[in-house]
Amino acid sequence: MNVLTYLIPISLLLGGIGLIGFIYTLRSRQYDDPEGDSRRILNDTWDDHPKE
């Protein structure tokens, strides 16, 4: 049962990282245009080289 002392904090930590990541994406306005963003990957404008 000692394994729980590692596993529970680890699971909370991993979940917490996910939560912080989500809050980061939310704050940086990444959900403002979900439809446009999902379409933009199909755009071939910058396929050859990245935008400077």
């Binding site: 729980l4 529970i8 909370l12 989500f22 809050i23 959900y31 403002d32 245009d33 446009g36 379409r39």
Partner: protein, 729 residues
């Protein structure tokens, strides 16, 4: 000043449709916003951004496909009109927006705030669920207690943060002495927490921490969907208001100065440019022109105005500049008096209670009574406070409106998303439900079923030299009929005849000389011909003695015929109401195949007509755009107006059609019917789960595992059912 008519060369047929007051309004702000109702794919994004970026003054342009909007950072001298023209050449409809009128922060933060709480609830419920699964699969004694304590440690702060919207709503409802959905929700969450803590303290078997969290999670998901759909609709509605910038030209010391309409006073002299709308009621003191009254009356024939004539706010000046002495401004104008009719009609509209409200009204007291009875029953039977409280909590959790909270928002979000994709904006939360009940549709004619722009009908009856001459004369004027001629000529690729001494006589027409012969294009009586055509027409005198009549017609909008027949196929009666003359309405009704039509209707008559239909027990959808329709729009069961409609008309309607095509209307009716069917189905699904699970809870057989299963399966099945509304499109 009197005959200084700017001759704007028309670059493309798309520009002809542009209202002239838009051209050349300088925008002080370097940030421009455009509404793009027709964009739908990655190619649209790419070509819009490329078109905009190709303009030398544009620093950056970004399209938001979800909002169908483009945000442009540009040099101050770039005007939205230029960019719109470029986009129209590429084939995109575009409208200017006033960024100041769009209150983006307020509408979006509410949805963002809910999403943040949703994320926290989701995170916490997943972790607690992991621990709970361990308990359910057989953890005992100290391990179980440890798991319960850890769950409590996660749950308490998570609930304190995530469930705040429910607690706040419930508290304000209770303070006002009412019951709403949030009262049983808050009670269930709090009771679940209290009994679980108590159980954990006494190292009991059952704790409902996971249930409290999943409950919060699912309900927040419903709230978030709702808020998102509403904020999208609200921002788009604000967008439409942002389309009209209220400006007027006041004459101060003989020079016109641009001022806000609100600053105008009685007695001010105001210059109304050709193509602009009169901002006040007034008397014409200088100039002679024709005015378009169709927004006020539905009448398509322009009227002549000369010095001494009265002009009312909302009339559009067509040819020459007019100077008005204001006789009524602001709230006193006839335009505003007409808007006051709306307030009267609206107060008569009975408050519609949505399906969700009706469900909540039955539900909230039912749940409380049930759980209180379970508590009392067990207390009397067993005398054990702890057991009774546990059972009361289980009843509240199981009956809690997880599925109910999702049933409506999930469906309306899916349906309004689908309709928004087709260019129909739903402003009012209950509009879809009301639309589903519609059995009669009343259309306005001018500007709603028709484009509001005349087009030439007998172009091919002219010989080649007449066509070239007509085009040449038409190019010299910005009058709508001239623009219709230019449009027809450009479509045929005709070269204009070279003209000398072109003079536009506002209110009459254009005259010029060709090889020393006088030629004229204008009002038939001015050109000197008799005509029996009672619609829109103009005369062309080519100097050779035989003048010809050019006939015009206000063409129906794209999709008008299909929409009318589509609605009739759905078993809906279609009625046409117009303020236009009987002959014009009769002809038009035949082309769109509407048997039931009424012409020469005054605004009050339209509203009264709708009231009469209503008292006959009919549910009417009113579609209209003009000021003469606003009272009728407000009196109808549900109403739609096109985006080009007056602000007052849009404000009075529940839905706004963003594109020029009318066909989303018939689709909207069938989507609304489907959506209401799904909402009812969802209620039935949720009730079914309750019927199965509630007896278990009351009998004391419900474990946290059963509660979690019932809650999740009902929520998921309700959401999946809602997704069916989206269809395959």
């Amino acid at each position: 000043m009197t005959s200084a008519v700017t001759n704007t060369p028309v670059a493309c047929p798309g520009c002809v449709a542009m209202p002239t007051q838009d051209t050349g309004t300088p925008v002080a702000d370097a940030r421009l916003m455009l509404s793009l109702p027709t964009i739908h794919c990655q190619n649209c994004i790419a070509s819009v951004e490329k078109t905009l970026a190709a303009h030398p003054g544009v620093h950056s342009a970004r399209v938001n496909l979800t909002l169908k909007r483009a945000l442009i950072d540009a040099a101050p001298e770039v005007t939205a009109a230029e960019l719109i023209r470029r986009l129209e050449v590429t084939g995109f409809e575009a409208y200017e927006l006033d960024p100041a009128a769009i209150n983006e922060t307020a509408t979006r933060t509410a949805a963002r705030d809910l999403l943040m709480r949703l994320a926290v609830a989701g995170f916490a419920s997943m972790n607690v669920m992991l621990l709970s699964v361990a308990v359910w699969s057989g953890a005992t004694d100290t391990t179980r207690d440890l798991f319960h304590w850890i769950s409590a440690a996660i749950t308490l702060p998570a609930i304190a943060f995530s469930a705040q919207p429910f607690f706040r709503n419930a508290w304000s409802a209770l303070r006002a002495g009412r019951l709403n959905m949030d009262v049983p929700i808050s009670l269930a969450i709090l009771l679940a927490l209290v009994t679980s803590l108590w159980e954990t303290w006494l190292s009991g078997h059952h704790a409902y921490f996971d249930a409290a969290l999943t409950l919060t999670f699912f309900l927040l998901a419903g709230r978030w969907l709702d808020a998102r759909a509403r904020s999208a609709a609200r921002s788009a509605a604000e967008e439409l208001t942002a389309l009209e910038v209220p400006r007027a030209w006041r004459i101060e010391n003989a020079t016109p100065v641009e001022v806000s309409v609100a600053a105008l006073q009685v007695g001010d002299h105001i210059l109304v440019h050709p193509g602009a709308r009169a901002p006040v009621d007034g008397i014409v003191t200088e100039g002679r022109s024709e005015v378009d009254r169709s927004m006020l009356t539905g009448e398509t024939l322009p009227e002549v105005r000369r010095s001494g004539d009265a002009m009312s706010a909302g009339e559009v000046n067509l040819t020459g500049p007019l100077t008005l002495r204001a006789t009524a401004v602001g709230q006193d104008t006839s335009l505003q008096r007409m808007a006051a009719l709306v307030a009267i009609a609206e107060s008569g509209r009975s408050r519609y209670t949505s399906l969700a409200d009706r469900a909540a009204k039955l539900y909230a007291p039912g749940v409380h009574i049930l759980s209180a009875l379970a508590f009392l029953g067990w207390l009397i039977w067993s005398g054990d406070m702890r057991v009774s409280l546990n059972i009361a909590a289980a009843v509240l959790i199981i009956t809690c409106p997880c599925a109910l909270g999702l049933a409506v928002p999930a469906v309306t979000t899916a349906a309004s998303g689908r309709l928004f994709g087709r260019g129909l904006l739903i402003k009012n939360a209950t509009a879809l439900e009301r639309l589903a009940e519609v059995d009669t549709v009343v259309f306005d004619k001018t500007g709603t079923l028709t484009t509001g722009h005349p087009s030439l009908t007998n172009w091919s009856a002219l010989n080649a030299s007449q066509q070239r001459l007509a085009y040449a004369l038409a190019k010299a004027s910005a009058h709508p009929l001239s623009r219709a001629i230019a449009e027809a000529a450009q479509a045929d690729g005709i070269e204009p005849t070279p003209l000398d001494e072109v003079i536009e006589r506002p209110g009459y027409g254009t005259m010029a000389t060709v090889e020393r012969t006088n030629v004229r294009l204008g009002r038939p009586e001015w050109v000197g011909i008799e005509t029996d055509h009672d619609g829109l027409c103009a005369g062309l005198d080519s100097g050779t003695g035989n003048a010809v009549v050019l006939r015009f017609e206000d063409k129906h909008r794209p999709g008008a015929v299909e929409t009318v027949s589509g609605l009739q196929d759905l078993g809906i009666d279609v009625i046409l109401l117009s303020g236009d003359r009987t002959s014009a309405v009769d002809r038009f009704a035949q082309t769109v195949r509407i048997a039931d039509w009424h012409a020469e209707m005054l605004p009050e008559e339209k509203a009264r007509f709708l009231q009469r239909l209503k008292s006959d027990g009919r549910r009417v959808l009113m579609v209209g755009d003009g000021l003469n329709d606003t009272a009728a729009l407000a009196a109808a069961h549900v109403s739609i107006s096109p985006a080009q409609a007056l602000d007052a008309a849009r404000a009075a309607s529940d839905m706004v059609l963003l594109g020029r095509d009318l066909s989303p209307i018939s689709e909207a009716v069938s989507v609304a019917r489907m959506a209401t069917r799904r909402i009812r189905e969802n209620f039935r699904i949720a009730t079914l789960y309750n019927i199965v699970a509630v007896p278990l809870a009351v009998a004391g057989l419900a474990t946290p595992l059963i509660a979690a299963l019932a809650m999740s399966t009902s929520s998921i099945s309700v959401s999946l059912n809602a997704l069916r509304v989206r269809g395959r499109g």
